[in-house]
């Protein structure tokens, strides 16, 4: 965990200095939500249940952008090689990178949730605990796969095209569970048992994705 913490601390320091990923991710996510609001909100009336899908689309698209940039940064000065040379278990480097992406996406979600709630008149904050559980568990699953793929693709020429092509099909279950759970939270009579089911499914997917990523990171990153 010490190595993961060092990598996370380094990534956050670099990001605080440059604000490059934070700005681009937020700008892209907010633009995405605004475009949907302009297109779908008619005479002050938003489409029913639309907010859940739009929130997750913004998270997924902005997340893809952030994932690509995180490893691009390690490629520019070949610092990824230096990280891989460290006498640490290589999965610890993956964990550090993953925690950085999760932190960044959660920061973006803190801005996105009130924005979507306001523009689509959605009661997103009526069950804050459950919303946080859905968003955090969904973000972990999405970022777990995305961090592995963006590390794998760091030397591929068409990495910007390949990342979403590989990432979205694998993370479809996470996005579906996230959208369904969020949509349920927007109902007038929220069925918490159903929300709990989706959160449990998301947590199960998190365990599977993180375990697989930890298992495959070392062989994938050698060579």
């Amino acid at each position: 965990m010490r190595i993961a913490w060092l990598v996370l601390k380094k990534d956050l320091t670099v990001e605080v200095r440059s604000l490059e990923i934070a700005y681009t991710t937020l700008f892209f996510a907010i633009s995405c939500v605004l475009f949907f609001a302009f297109a779908l909100v008619k005479e002050g009336k938003a489409p029913e249940d639309g907010a859940a899908g739009i929130l997750w689309i913004a998270i997924a698209f902005a997340g893809t952008l952030a994932l690509g940039r995180t490893f691009e940064r390690e490629r520019q000065s070949e610092t990824l090689r230096a990280l891989l040379m460290a006498p640490a278990d290589r999965p610890a480097i993956y964990v550090g990178k993953l925690l950085g992406i999760i932190a960044l996406l959660i920061a973006a979600e803190i801005v996105l949730v009130p924005l979507v709630a306001f523009l689509f008149q959605a009661p997103l904050l009526s069950h804050p605990f459950w919303l946080a559980a859905v968003l955090i568990s969904g973000t972990i699953g999405f970022a777990a796969v995305g961090t592995l793929f963006s590390a794998m693709l760091v030397r591929a020429r068409s990495r910007d095209v390949l990342l979403p092509v590989l990432l979205y099909p694998i993370t479809v279950p996470v996005i579906i569970a996230g959208v369904r759970a969020t949509a349920e939270l927007l109902q007038p009579d929220v069925e918490l048992a159903l929300v709990r089911f989706w959160v449990m499914l998301l947590l199960a997917l998190d365990v599977v994705f993180v375990t697989l990523a930890l298992w495959t990171f070392e062989p994938l990153m050698t060579d």
């Binding site: 060092l6 200095r17 230096a82 040379m85």
Partner: protein, 236 residues
Amino acid sequence: MSIDFQELTAEDVSRHFGRRKALSRISFQTRTGSILGLLGPNGAGKSTMIAVLATLMRPSGGAIHYGTYTSPAAGSALRSRIGILGHDLFLYPELTARENLAFFAGLYGARDANGAADAALARAGLADRAHDPISSFSRGMRQRVALERSLIHGPRLVLLDEPFTGLDDASTAALVARLRGLRDEGAIVVLATHDLDLAEGLLDEALFLRDGRMVDAVARPGALRSTYRSIMGRSS
């Protein structure tokens, strides 16, 4: 687990990228207190050899022996005894020199990472620039920080890939002196370069590579440029 070794042996090492042979059956042996030069034109396989020795790349055939250890069997314990300075400097431009060195010292398990970074900066003669971001440094200064980064954990095997690129005379002289110091301290230094004038008088052994093949190996090479011409002329 802490490990150490006195010899480095490459045994019929090959590395293929698809059908292209970047290295073909390279064998050599070197030991502590020596500087081995990998010499050859661009595309000779020098950087690939450095990457294989650094455990960043697996050989397609053959093996590297670090004393009695091999990679990947010795894994992270072996990596803790290897330092590498590549074409790129492996430094974060947004971080200060001290933050960069402290980060890598931490990765290598230094108890006092900031203390190790300060000592490294003093060795590089850059203590007064400790809190400046790397992006504000000249190429020579970055190279000095990068060299200290690669040595911050006291490696037994030091791998340098074209370390003289972009350095002025003063920085080159300082780097040569540092490499001689490492040899005297008992490190195994492997240096890949195509700059024969700078390698002149520095190498204890020279390995001449061409198109991924070892053309010749010379101990205590003198008059490198004429030796290089005669060996490469013979092989073409």
